[in-house]
């Protein structure tokens, strides 16, 4: 997950002539790398999605034909694609808010005046975020084991019958969401703590004098002032969650009954296992459109908030 900071404009400082040339020299390595190995492939991806580029084309690109929007048409008729899209939305729309709620809760607890050992707890909560996803996914696969897993063993004490977490189509996605929430909440928590610390404490004092309890203070002071942070966290989390791939790849291979096949996993299978690259490029572009729409919706929601 990357964390972009929004650009802020500054007036250009007065500089002697000649710095312009130096500036372009400084920019040249970064800009040419990003152009050749990122922007160009993105544009090429759009073109690729309009062709029937497949395994034969890898050996001999001249066999590729332009097919217009046929890949997109086929995509929209394929149940596997719709299921992958539904699975991805399920993961993002359930896992995203859950992660954000837990992050905000942890940040509030860590920011409370009474809390001791703040940095120790902060470090512990952040540790899952820095771990290697593939490694912890393998660990969780064993924790989820129906018979030998610690999770079912623990739930057994609460009288819960053993759940086939990764083998039952109804439970596989919730299991992956639980892993993702555990892994990612620490990052958002840090951003929230930074946001909370930026709120002037006089505002809380004033609200307290006015007789506002902790709940009213949260809704009337904390939440409105945390608005920009919430938007940032919401957008970053959602973009990351729409790119779900390694968890199902390692834990379920997209199963059972394709219940955890995400859009990116579908793209990977079509493009890099079956080498239907034209079709896979169309899948990738639809993912981009979905992310774009979801981002715009979040910005709109944020603007409409009173």
């Amino acid at each position: 997950m990357t964390a972009p900071a929004l650009p802020s404009r500054t007036p250009a400082p007065q500089l002697p002539p000649g710095t312009g040339k130096a500036a372009w020299l400084f920019l040249a390595p970064a800009l040419s790398l990003i152009f050749i190995f990122f922007f160009l492939p993105v544009l090429a991806s759009l073109l690729l999605s309009l062709t029937d580029f497949d395994i034969y084309a890898i050996a001999d690109p001249s066999t590729t034909r332009f097919v217009g929007l046929r890949n997109y048409g086929r995509l929209l008729e394929t149940p596997e694609f719709w299921q992958a899209l539904r699975n991805t939305l399920y993961f993002a729309l359930a896992g995203g808010p859950l992660t954000i709620a837990l992050s905000l809760g942890a940040a509030l607890l860590l920011n409370a005046k009474l809390t001791r050992f703040k940095t120790v707890f902060r470090t512990i909560y952040f540790v899952p975020f820095v771990t290697t996803l593939v490694a912890v996914a393998i660990v969780w696969r064993y924790l989820y084991h129906t018979r030998y897993g610690l999770l079912n063993y623990g739930l057994g004490f609460l009288g819960v019958e053993p759940i086939d977490w990764l083998g039952d189509p109804r439970w596989a996605m919730p299991a992956i969401i639980l892993l993702a929430v555990w892994k990612n909440f620490g990052y958002n928590m840090l951003i929230f703590i930074a946001g909370l610390q930026a709120i002037p404490s006089e505002l809380y004092d004033a609200a307290e004098i006015d007789g506002a309890g902790p709940v009213r203070r949260f809704f009337n002071v904390t939440l409105p002032l945390l608005g920009p942070t919430l938007l940032f966290v919401g957008v970053v989390t959602m973009i990351g969650y729409f790119q779900l791939f390694a968890e199902p790849y390692v834990m379920t291979m997209g199963g059972p009954l394709r219940a955890t096949t995400s859009v990116v996993l579908l793209m990977y299978e079509e493009g890099f296992r079956w080498w239907r690259m034209g079709y896979a490029a169309a899948v990738a572009f639809v993912l981009f459109l979905v992310i774009l729409i979801a981002t715009l919706i979040q910005f709109r929601l944020q603007r409409e908030r009173p």
């Binding site: 190995f37 540790v127 912890v136 897993g149």
Partner: protein, 277 residues
């Protein structure tokens, strides 16, 4: 008196919740560590156990003899260090130029670049693969290094921080006749050290933990990184729980160590970067 008791009660509840949360956060990794030193077969017994009956390091030995994870450990370390070192230089040069140097088209270029932040990297992967194939870089270290050498996020992070370098300092150096490259090296780099540290840790962790792109571009086992090797081994050795846990420990431990030793720079950088935006 009653107020003090109420505060004490709140404090106890608060800290109980925090400790429970910490246990949940650490439990999967504690079990990973514990299972990795259990005798073979013990992690898949019933009832499941948390602590080993006897500590053994045989699985760690097997990682290097039977599974040859040493090779993958080297690959991961080599790629993470190389990408981190090169990307620091390239991103900091660009970030500084955007922040402090004046040239025509600066704002337009920067805006164009920021468009890239909303593009998911997966969209670029298929043509990038074909491009690298044309360049004969598939299944080489370069296939991972080159796309990682410059990052829009890195440039943003550096630029944001470099904005706070006083112009007077740069102008004074120019008056003394220092070249732009000398100014970058002698004035700018020392001034942005904290954010360079943040970016270095971020890049190292991201490269070490990355899975999808190395999986695509490194098809031959001899070039696998640890996560790719682990994912492939975990299919074959699904029964060898303790061995897999040892492999997971080996994969996670280096990034955990980097984080724990350098967390001051890392956490502060992330928090500062988000608030300033």
């Amino acid at each position: 008196m009653t107020l003090r008791w109420r505060t004490l009660g709140t404090s106890i509840i608060l800290h109980t919740v925090l400790v429970l949360g910490a246990l949940v956060a650490l439990m999967p990794m504690a079990w990973m560590l514990s299972a990795s030193v259990m005798p073979a077969g013990e992690a898949t017994g019933y009832p499941p156990r948390f602590f080993p009956s006897r500590v053994t390091f045989e699985h760690y030995g097997q990682l290097f003899t039977r599974l040859e994870l040493g090779r993958y450990l080297f690959n991961s370390a080599f790629l993470a260090v190389t990408v981190t070192a090169t990307s620091l230089v390239i991103n900091s040069l660009a970030g500084y130029a955007f922040a402090k140097l004046r040239f025509r088209g600066r704002d337009r270029t920067f805006r164009l670049l920021s468009l890239g932040l909303v593009l998911p990297v997966q969209v670029a992967m298929l043509p990038l693969f074909l491009l690298l194939k044309q360049l004969h870089l598939i299944n080489t270290y370069w296939g991972v290094i080159i796309p990682g050498m410059a990052s829009i996020f890195g440039i943003f992070l550096i630029r944001q921080y470099a904005l706070s370098i006083p112009d007077d300092m740069l102008d004074a150096a120019r008056m003394d006749g220092a070249s732009e490259l000398t100014i970058y090296w002698k004035v700018v780099v020392p001034g942005i050290l904290p954010i360079l540290a943040t970016l270095a840790i971020w890049t190292f962790l991201a490269t070490w933990n990355d899975f999808m792109w190395p999986l695509i571009v490194l098809s031959d086992a001899s070039h696998y990184t640890l996560p790719v090797a682990l994912a492939s081994l975990s299919g074959e050795h699904v029964q060898d729980t303790e061995l897999m846990m040892a492999g997971s420990v080996l994969t996670v431990l280096p990034v955990l160590a980097v984080f724990l030793f350098l967390q001051r720079y890392y956490i502060q950088g992330i928090m500062a970067g988000s608030v300033k935006g």
